[in-house]
């Protein structure tokens, strides 16, 4: 049991504080997308499938966003009608790379590894994007309709309880995470 306690302390302490700030920012960006983006991207995204993937690739590679906090952003974009393939490109390229990791790969490995790293991520993300679009077309699925459906089975009281508990945890850990992030930046720049 002390091991379990240690694990949960790690998850709801260290891990949560790592994610807290980018997660909150991700939720706000998602809210902003919901508000600002045109009501219907579907027509544009269907006509320019490849372009929309390239845009998401270009946005995802330098952006510092973790897997969890990129999810609401992708969900908001899908709700607006972005093709799921382009959303997946963002979900893959976003968390895997950012300006800091690009620099780190060059340092830990070498320039050649960096070229392989970036080009393989770009190629694989785009290939997976096409594959996902194809799956949706093949199965005659419409992603817009299904977003959020999974959570409709959760009673509102439970949702609200979850939100309150998470907010308290985020509040406590957000401060710690913010401090650590500043330290991390200082360390990275020191090199």
């Amino acid at each position: 049991m002390p091991r379990l306690k240690k694990g949960l302390t790690y998850a709801f302490g260290e891990l949560l504080s790592d994610i807290a700030r980018p997660f909150v920012i991700g939720m706000l960006i998602a809210g902003g997308i919901t508000f600002f983006f045109p009501e219907d991207l579907t027509a544009w995204a269907n006509e320019h499938t490849f372009l929309s993937m390239l845009v998401m690739l270009g946005a995802g590679i330098p952006m510092y966003v973790c897997a969890t906090s990129s999810t609401p952003i992708a969900a908001a974009l899908i709700l607006k009608g972005l093709n799921p393939g382009a959303a997946l490109v963002f979900l893959l390229a976003g968390p895997a790379t950012n300006a800091a990791t690009i620099n780190i790969v060059k340092n830990i490995f070498n320039t050649r590894a960096l070229v392989i790293y970036l080009s393989m991520i770009a190629v694989c993300s785009l290939a997976m994007g096409f594959f996902v679009d194809w799956i949706y077309a093949f199965m005659h699925l419409s992603p817009t309709v299904m977003v959020g459906q999974a959570s409709e089975v959760i009673p509102h009281v439970l949702q609200l309880t979850g939100a309150v508990v998470l907010t308290i945890l985020l509040g406590i850990n957000g401060i710690v995470g913010f401090r650590r992030m500043i330290q991390t930046h200082a360390q990275v720049h020191a090199h």
């Binding site: 809210g31 893959l92 590894a113 991390t184």
Partner: protein
């Protein structure tokens, strides 16, 4: 001025709606991450990797997918993997697989995206990681750049 307040309010309301959908799944994801931490130590992965150009790449991607580390949190682990003697392909594979997906983001994907995306996301992350790792082991080189800073010594993030 009043209009700005309205816009901010609308954005916050939209964010809150998403947050309600996702909060309980986040808590669940963190709980699983806690269990994972108990049974599975990221810094002991090297012992299980084995040797070769392909096998360690597969295994480190497999280990990396459920681990809930972000792209900066994974750096010290990937660096120590390499330091412990894993080849560059395995370390790169781990460095890609880990941040692209984790138990927490799978839980959140289930809440916010649809089942297809929830499944495909870790699968696509796995394929990306393995392809990159194998490409590195076959086409990359292990020798560092000439101007080498000792970043491995002091892992950040």
């Amino acid at each position: 001025m009043e209009k700005t307040v309205d816009i901010v309010y609308d954005i916050l309301a939209a964010s809150w709606d998403l947050y309600l959908d996702v909060a309980i799944f986040m808590l669940f994801g963190f709980f699983i991450a806690g269990l994972l931490y108990v049974f599975f130590k990221a810094d002991q992965i090297k012992r299980h990797l084995g040797t070769g150009k392909i096998r360690p790449v597969f295994l480190s991607a497999l280990f990396g997918i459920p681990l809930p580390l972000c792209s900066c949190g994974v750096v010290p682990v990937a660096a120590s993997l390499k330091k412990q003697g894993a080849n560059s392909g395995a370390a790169l594979s781990f460095m890609i697989a880990t941040p692209e997906s984790g138990v927490d983001s799978i839980a959140v994907s289930w809440a916010m995206l649809d089942p297809v995306m929830t499944v495909l996301r870790p699968v696509a992350g796995f394929i990306t990681a393995v392809s990159t790792g194998i490409a590195q082991n076959f086409f990359g080189s292990e020798t560092p750049d000439k101007t080498k800073t000792d970043l491995i010594k002091e892992p950040g993030g």
